[in-house]
Each structure stands twice: as structure tokens, then as C-alpha cells.
Symmetry: D2
Subunit: 342 residues, 4 copies
């Protein structure tokens, strides 16, 4: 561990819109853990929300918190029970470590573990820093030709993989995606990679719709107007969290189809129960993901999903504020934080 310094630089959220870089000890990996030098970390809507509001629902930032949970890097040290051959391995980090003991964990749905410890969710620190420790099995090897940015963006890609699994997307599927932010773009890319013949994306922003087309959408529609007649899909994936988008989308789903609610928004949405009944629609939501990293890495490695194209800017630890509160006119998709410098 000779090359690992004793202290590191960390971007800390001390309060609402109060970020500072601190010097902290580099953590020591536990027996089952690895120490990862962070190469790149994506900025997510939840990071922005904590920065602006200091809370998301019941999760309140009471102590200084390190944000960032979309991280790629490489292993620089390992705990006693981890093969030392992993040192040097380039990895993508799955940022939520479940308890491994509850019913949810043992049955394979560990994303629903009530005791999961998730990066950048109070009181667990995230990855806007130079080094993090993580359970060894949640640090996944990536090919050497995958960038650190892409390794970090395996996390939002996993959101897209999970949403598509819930939606049952496959060869020949038709899918309506509401919202062309990063998640909507990744849901679109994954749907196409899985063989969907038709992926219709709606958004109010024409720049975002252009990006959706580039991501493989077969049709794009303006969310400012009623959905065109004739749209009828096997699955509707809401990535907008906008009530109007949800209520517009549900009636366009065919019998037996799926409605997957990914975007966060209103506490309640009025859903058309007779439509759900008469078509036996399956309505569900997603909470993070489980067992998605291998497939997400496969999709990014094969080139079927392009993660690097989502990156529109890089910042270093001293400029995390520029990632969390960017110029709104700049139409960023993903701003990456590079703790080692841009």
C-alpha cells in the first residue's frame, strides 16, 4: 500500500448550497473490502437535490455529507480476505451495500434491503473524493478500454437496465419513454440494445429530443402537446416524474403491457383503474437496481450502449459546485467529477 497517501481531498456538503474541500484520512479497507482510487464520478439529480435542499424525503443531511455515487476508478489496496491480485484492477462501483442477511438479500432482491448502506445517502458518504472503500464484490472489473467516465456511468446505465427488465423489453418491443434526461436516454439506449423495434421518447425540450434521437429513439414527440394518435406500446417507462406525462402515457399501453415508474415526482398520481383492469396492465416502480452490473458492463463493453457520449463536461474536486449548479442554458447531460483533476 506504499503508493497510497495517508490523507486525501474530499468535497463535503456542509449544509444547503455549502460545499467545501476538506483533507481527510484515506480510509482503510475492511477484510472483505477494496480501496479504490476514484477516477471519475457522475453527478446525479439526487446529488443536486441534496445540494439545493439538504434532504430527499426522509433522508436529511444532518452531518457533513460527501456526495457522488456514480464512480469508476481502480483498486489500490485490498482487505485481508480479498485476493491481492485485484490491486490495479479497473472497476465500476455499485454504490449500495446491502446487509446480506435479511429476507430481501437472501432472495436476490437486495435493492429492497432496509439496511442497505448507499453512497451519498445520509449518513453514508459518497465518492466525491480521492479514495473510497467498498465491499470487494460490489467493485466490478471493467475492460481496460472502458473510460473511467464510462465505468462511473455504469451506475445510471444500471437504472436503465433495471427499468427495461421491469418493463419486459425484448426483441420487437414498442416502448414509450417519458423524459429525455440522462435516465431516459439510457432507458432508450438499453431498449434498443435489447431489440425494441420502436422507442418513442417525449420531452418538452427540443435539445433533449435531439439527444433522444441520437440515442436511438425511433420517434420523438413534444411533451408540450397531447401525445399523437395511434401511439400504442408494449411498455411505458416514465423517467420524467411529471404527473401529466404519467397520466398521458398509461392509456397508450396495450393489453398485458407494463408501466414502469422511474422518475420521482408527485406523492400521488391519479391512475385510470379501469384501464389497468381491462388491459391487465402491470404498473410498478423501480428502486435502484439489483444484479445489473454484469449486464450493464456487457452492454457498454460491446458498444451497444455508448456512455461517453453522455458526458458534456468535467470538473475537479474544487469545482464540484459547477457540476451541481451548472449554467442551465448549457444543456448538460452528465458532468463528471474527476477527483484527480480534469
Amino acid at each position: 500500500m506504499s503508493s497510497v497517501p495517508e490523507t486525501m481531498r474530499v468535497s463535503v456538503l456542509r449544509g444547503v448550497e455549502d460545499l467545501a474541500v476538506e483533507e481527510r484520512p484515506v480510509p482503510t479497507p475492511g477484510p472483505d473490502e477494496v480501496l479504490v482510487q476514484v477516477g471519475s464520478v457522475g453527478t446525479c439529480g439526487s446529488d443536486v437535490h441534496y445540494y439545493r435542499h439538504g434532504r430527499i424525503g426522509d433522508f436529511v443531511v444532518r452531518e457533513p455529507l460527501v456526495l457522488g455515487h456514480e464512480a469508476g476508478g481502480h483498486i489500490v489496496a485490498v482487505g485481508a480476505d480479498v485476493p491481492s491480485s485485484r490491486v490495479g484492477e479497473r472497476v465500476s462501483l455499485e454504490p449500495g451495500i446491502p446487509c446480506r442477511h435479511c429476507e430481501m438479500c437472501r432472495e436476490g432482491t437486495y435493492n429492497l434491503c432496509p439496511d442497505v448502506r448507499f453512497f451519498a445517502t445520509p449518513p453514508i458518504d459518497g465518492a466525491f473524493c480521492e479514495y473510497v472503500t467498498l465491499a470487494a464484490d460490489f467493485a466490478y472489473a471493467v475492460p481496460n478500454d472502458m473510460s473511467d467516465d464510462a465505468a462511473g456511468l455504469i451506475e445510471p446505465l444500471s437504472v436503465g437496465v433495471w427499468a427495461n427488465r421491469k418493463a419486459g423489453v425484448g426483441v420487437g418491443s414498442s416502448v414509450l419513454v417519458a423524459g429525455a434526461g440522462p435516465v431516459g436516454l439510457l432507458v432508450t439506449q438499453v431498449a434498443r440494445a435489447l431489440g425494441a423495434s420502436q422507442v418513442i421518447v417525449s420531452d418538452i425540450d427540443s435539445t433533449r429530443l435531439e439527444r433522444a434521437s441520437a440515442a436511438g429513439a425511433t420517434d420523438v414527440v413534444s411533451a408540450g402537446e397531447p401525445l399523437p394518435e395511434g401511439i400504442s406500446v408494449d411498455a411505458f417507462v416514465d423517467c420524467s416524474g411529471v404527473t401529466a406525462a404519467v397520466t398521458a402515457g398509461v392509456p397508450r399501453v396495450k393489453p398485458r403491457g407494463a408501466v414502469v415508474l422511474v422518475g420521482m415526482g408527485a406523492d400521488e398520481v391519479a391512475l385510470p383503474v379501469p384501464v389497468i383492469q381491462n388491459r391487465e396492465l402491470v404498473v410498478t416502480g423501480t428502486f435502484r437496481y439489483a444484479n445489473t452490473w454484469p449486464q450493464a458492463i456487457a452492454l457498454a463493453s460491446s458498444g451497444e450502449v455508448d456512455l461517453d457520449s453522455l458526458v458534456t463536461a468535467h470538473v475537479d474536486l474544487d469545482h464540484v459546485v459547477d457540476a451541481l449548479a451548472p449554467d442551465p442554458g448549457a444543456h448538460h447531460v452528465k458532468i463528471m467529477v474527476r477527483p484527480g483533476g480534469v
Copy 2:
């Protein structure tokens, strides 16, 4: 076919609250059909609704309509392509014949066939009459010791089987059932037969709750008050169609659990999207059933489900009005119409 008369008596709905008995020709079975002498027919909420309002949603009674779709009886004649050995067979009738050619039919979800012809749904006549024809494969043999009443009630039992399938009920499951009408009671009985350890039934009517207890509910709760603390279930099956019951029930479902909307009610219900997301609940509805008769007959034959106990009165064809508009104080569950006389 010597024993089959040329004409028969039929109870016809001629308009809102306008029933009359008419004499009509006995129908002739097509090549793939059987002619069934109807022994007993249950009265369903949809029959009552057509009687009172002349329509259900888009289905409007424009021509005289024969009601009744929960029928048992015995085969008295067969079409050219049906083995004559079936004459004399006692049968339960599945009352909806799908087109057999569309995608839904070919993939086994024939209840969603857009061209299904369903008894007592305009313009298709039902079974409040002495004889009906039916596709031979939708007339299922029942054991000789099963009553005609029970043979007819295999239909609502199928609703209960289907709801439990959608809810994923099995050994050790906990289930909350809202509404203790006939369907709620059957959902309860089936859940217990499938091994559910806990079945909690809510209703506003204490007589109905007593029936729920007799049907195997492990707990009953008054729907007039908030659900007690601590109720947490694997599945919630709404058989009430009451918005307040739905909104009360959903938050009581555990992570990964199912919400199955069986009861018909409001056109829209406000559902708590964050709960659906954070727990990845699966919300769906039921539209009739598919491929349920064999299991329903098995449950009724083995005694695990008791159908005869649901029957609270019998009427003949001249008194169908008493089945469709009974004394509300009598707390009927199922009134059976016996075309051949009570």
C-alpha cells in the same frame, strides 16, 4: 336429440328494470358446440347493473338481452365434431368464447381477446334460460357430486383463482382483502386453500365480516375505521371498488408485494407513487380470467373451497327480478336462478 324440446322459456331484459319471460327456439349447437340444459345460474353484480342501468360503461343494452353468466347444467346434445359420449355430462360453463386467432388468444391470455363473445354482455345473450349452446371446450365436466349451483359458481370462483394468481398467493402468504361480497369471500377461500397463513378482510358490514370469518379470514376489520396499525401484507386484493379502501390498502403492502384491483369503482384512483417505487410494488387489475376452470373445479371438488355455502336463495325464471332486486335487508350472498324450477 329426441328429449330436447323445440322451444324454451327465456328471461329477457327488455329495458331498464323491464324483465319478461319469452318463449324462444332452443338453439342448435354448431359443429364444435354443445347444447346444455341449464340447471342453475348465479346472479352477479354485472347482471344487477344491467338490470338497473341498462349499461356498463361502453356496453349498452340496445336490444333485448338475456342475463346470467354463472351457469352449470348438463349436456343434452352435441355438434358434429363433438364426441356423442359427452351427452349426459354434467358441466360448468366458462361463459366467454374468445376468437382463438388473435395474438392474445394464441399466447394464452384469451381473456384479453378483443373479440371475445361473453354471456350477458351486449349483444351476446346469457344463461337465464332453459338451454344454451357453448363451445364444447368451454363446457367443463364436473364431478357428479357437485351441485348445479356449485357448477355455476365455478365462474365467480375463477375470478378468485385469477386474483390470487395475480397476487402470487402461496404457502405462508399474508393477504389483505378489501370487500367481503361474493368475490371477496371467494378470494379469501382460495387464498386459504393456497396456504395463506394470514387473510385479513375489511368491510363496512358486520354481517359480511362474519361471513368472511366463516370463509377462513384469520382477521376481520371494519372498513369504517382506519386500518389497525401493524397490518403488513404480501398482497392486497381489492374486491370493493371503493377508492378509500384502495388508498388505505396500498401502503400496507410489503416490498415486492402485489396490489390486485378486482373491484370496479372510480375511473381514477390516486396512488402513492413513491410507495410503489420504494417498495417496487406490482399493481395490476383483473379482467375476468383465463385457464382457471380446471383449478377452480379441483378446489371445489376437494372441498377446500365451499361454494354451496354462498347460496342464500333460489328463484325460477319467473322470479328473476327477485334475484336482481332482492330485499336489501336480507343480506344475500348468491341468489341462484334455476330455469327448470327451484
Copy 3:
């Protein structure tokens, strides 16, 4: 129907290795049927087997039989219950019409219908002729830029789709395919289209292995030697029917993996029960396919699967023998019969 002649030319198998072209009446479509002018028909191993041996298992050619069941063409007439707008539609034919009434049909597994009527399976005639009738819902529209050859080869592609479904192949899967004949090549192409990261193909013939590589195999191995060390896959699909290939492949499947037996060969194969148990392998076989045409057409339309590249020769009705008994040194993959002339 003015353009449809009264008689047509038909290639008839009159006995073992006895083919002749006869003039027969053009059939008339039933109410639910279409009349298809056959554009191209693939030659399958079963056709070759009937030609050489006059039987396959219990199916014996007792009367003159028309072979050919991989057919594409266009609709020239329709029955009374089929929209006349379908005349002119280019179609791929699913060659087995199930009874639509049995348990298998109603539950969506119509390939297991005991009363299926399948082209070129005694006593049902096939498609080596100018015109055939078929149930309208089993004639699937194909894009205008799909060739008649490809429309016909949707049938063997369906075999590949079905095998991959049974094998559970998806993004990141590893698959071992034994046998690089037409079916093995299509299983390989489909596996890759579904996102398999690794598809290893074994065969004894180096020409076939070259074709496997062209079809997307990531590795090819000679079946004449033991499988190399280190091969460990999620699924093994046998398309060879060779006992040695099956027994070599099964032990290479990972825990929870699938073994799918597609190739026909020995009546019994000794399988390693402790391996099946200790890894909880799932071993199954395929019998034709069900509900595969839409996905197969989607795969061929999108270009993810290339069917035209499988075609190595064309013959007309007078030269069907050249398709059924080709020069073995020519290494044909698919020889297409074009009833209208090459």
C-alpha cells in the same frame, strides 16, 4: 381472384426417392384462410429424411406427399372472414395450424397441440407448389424489402428464436452451440442478437465452422477433439443430435444453466445426473416453436439476423431433387425451391 389460375404445378413425393411434378387444382381458401402464391421455400433436413426414408419416426408417407414447410410468398386471395385488404400482402408462413381448442392451445403452447396440422408431415401437404392455403393468422406480413427467401427462412429462424428462449439467452450470456448446420448458425445469430457476449460453436467440419464465425460465433472448436479446458457457459444448445456432442457439452454448463436439445439423434442419451443435480441444471428440448414469428421477423427486418446469407442455391419445381439430394461436396447451407422459377 381473376389472376389465380385453376390449376398449379406441384412437386409430389410419391415414394422413397420418387419425386414428380403434377398438375393439381389450386386450393380454395376457407373462410378464415388466405391463398398464398409461394415465392420461395427452404429445404429442411426433415424434407430430406422423408425423401430418402419415406418416414420420420411414427410419421410414415403412405400417400403422395408434398414436401416443404419454410415458405414465403404473397397473398393472392382471401376467405370470407379475412379482410380483402390483405390481398397483395407479402407474407411468411407459419406452417403448423393447431386445433385452437385443446389445453395446450388455450394456454399458449400450441406447438404441443396433439392435433396440429403441419406442412409436409404426413398426411398434410407442404409448400413445394405454386399456391397454398393457410389460416390467415398464421400468414404474417413481412416488410417489402425482405426477400421471399428470407420470408421462408423465418421458419428455421423461429427454431433458433425458440431455442434461445428456452436457453434464457440475454445480454452478457455465454452459450455453447454444438453443430453448425442451418439451425446451429441461426441459434448463433439469434444468441448474438440477444446480446450474448460469448458464443462458442463446435462442429466436425471446418467449412461449417467458418460459417459459424461469419454468423457471429466468438469461438469455434473442432468437435473431433475434446472441448478445450475452461469452457464454462450459461447455456448449451445442441443442434447436432450427436450423442458425443451432448455428453461433452452438459458438463460445461454453469450452475443454474440450461441445456436445450434441438438436434434429433439417438433415442436415449446417458446424462450425468449428479451434474444436473449439483448445479440444478435445467435440461429441456424443443418441439418446433410457438409465438415466435413476430420476434423472428423483427430480428430479420432490423438486420440483426441475416437470412439471405444462408442461401447457397435456388431450384425450380422441376429440380427439387437437386435440393433434396445435393452434391455433398458443395457444402450447401440452404437450397431454396422457387415454384415460380429461379
Copy 4:
């Protein structure tokens, strides 16, 4: 922990047919573990096999080994991370602790974890002793009215639950069970509890067949003769490990049916591939179980499965040899070892 002594008595297998009682330190529970005072432990065929042969396949008894893995008892002490309120809890022990970190564990199929530590499997000691430690989450609370014997026999019941899950048994199923030893009897009881209408059990021993009838078999057949004509089932579960039973059973499975190989026997069994293909049978095996304890406890608690009736004798630690090498004429089903005395 005042009531827990420092040493305990342990029955140790020192070599082939060489058992001795030793005094050993009572183990100390780790942070996530509980210390259980063992009330009763079933004797399994694998215990007998180790006693007689000193090995099962690759698992060889090289060091003294404690046998016994079907254990019930009560918690007498807990580790630091376990609620102290669990002291006194009566429990059934799931005897295999997986690594919780591998792909199999994280996806919910922890029985296939390559690093599982399983009681009484070299070099892991089992439960023929007064006290054992176990991961807290693998010690499941049982109702107070469940006997220690039954708490121990939840383990073989889990084998039966798992086999029935693999076989897809449900309401109305027909099942053929080969072998009426303890596992066959439990598979039978579970199948009936799940609603199977027909459970046919075969065995060569008439005493065992009588027990099968008492366990709920609807038919029993002598395995010494060919299976009677007309047996046709949805699932065949082999609990005999006898090649002739397997080869007799497979052809009796209906299309789409399941073959589940539970019994251990020959290294290879010749299976009829054309039958597997033409009927698309699913053949699989079981390796222990995963996530079965809650359902097994529910079945035993509700009385749907009767475990106590399987117990035919009790022995104390000094007489374990009588459990492992009983009088073969005594027709024992389950002999329970009671470390605290009979």
C-alpha cells in the same frame, strides 16, 4: 450466558463405523451468530453414508467429523450484533451458511454457492452435540407448539418444498413420486398440501407404500412391476435414485411437464431425448434448497404437513450408532438424536 456450561458432549465420527462421544468446549457465537442448545436432530441418509463409507463423492472424512444436520432447539446466547431478545427463542436450523458474496448468493440461489459451509459435510461439523453456533438469520423461530423433533425435520421438509417448487406442483396437479423413504413421504405431503389432486407413489417395499398412503398418496404402486397403464402426470419427482425408476417415470410425464431428480444414484442415466423434445419436458435436479424455511414452517405449523408422524425412534448421544445402523427389519423412517437425552 450464565446457564451455558463451558464444555459439552459431542458424538464424533472418527473413522468408518467409528463413533465416540467426546467432551469439547461449547463454541462461542460470532457477532452475527446465535448459540443453540440442540433439542433434536434427525438422521439422514448422508449421515449413514459417511458413517459407513467415510465419504460421499469428493467429500472425504479426513478429520474427526460431527454428523447431523436436521436440528431443532432453542437459542441460549447471541453474538454482539444479534438482539438479546432472541435468547430463549425456539428455532429450526438451516444448516448451510453461504458466503453471501458470490453471484449465486446475491441472486438468491445461495444453495449453489460454491463456498457454502454445510453442517456434517467435511470439514464442517454438524449437530450431534449439545450446542452449536449458527448465523442468526439461519436460525428460524418456530411456534412454541412445534416439537423439537418437528423443528429439526423442517430440514428434510425443505427438501420436499424445494422439489415441489421445481416441479411446479399446484392446485389440481398430478404427480408421480418414486421412492417412499423420508424424502418421498415429505414430497408427497407437500404436493398434497399444495393442492395436487393426484399423487402416485411407487416403491418396492409394501410397508413404505402404506406409509405413503398415510402421507396422502392417492395411489401407490409396486416398483417391482411395470408402472400401470394410464399413468400420465404433470410432474415426476424421483426420490429413489434408482435408474429403473427414473427411466420408468420419465415417459409418464405429460407435455410441458417436469422431471425433478432428487434421489442420488447412478452417475449416468439414459434419458429418452425424443420424449423430452417432443413434449418439451423440463428435467432438473435439486441441490439442497434455498429460501424454503418460511414456507416449510408454515406448512408444519398449519398442520398441513405432519412431521412428528415420521419419527419412529429416539436415541441419545451415546446411542447415535443405533440411529446410523438401525435394525433393518424395524422399518424406521426417522430416528431422532436427542443430545439432552431421550
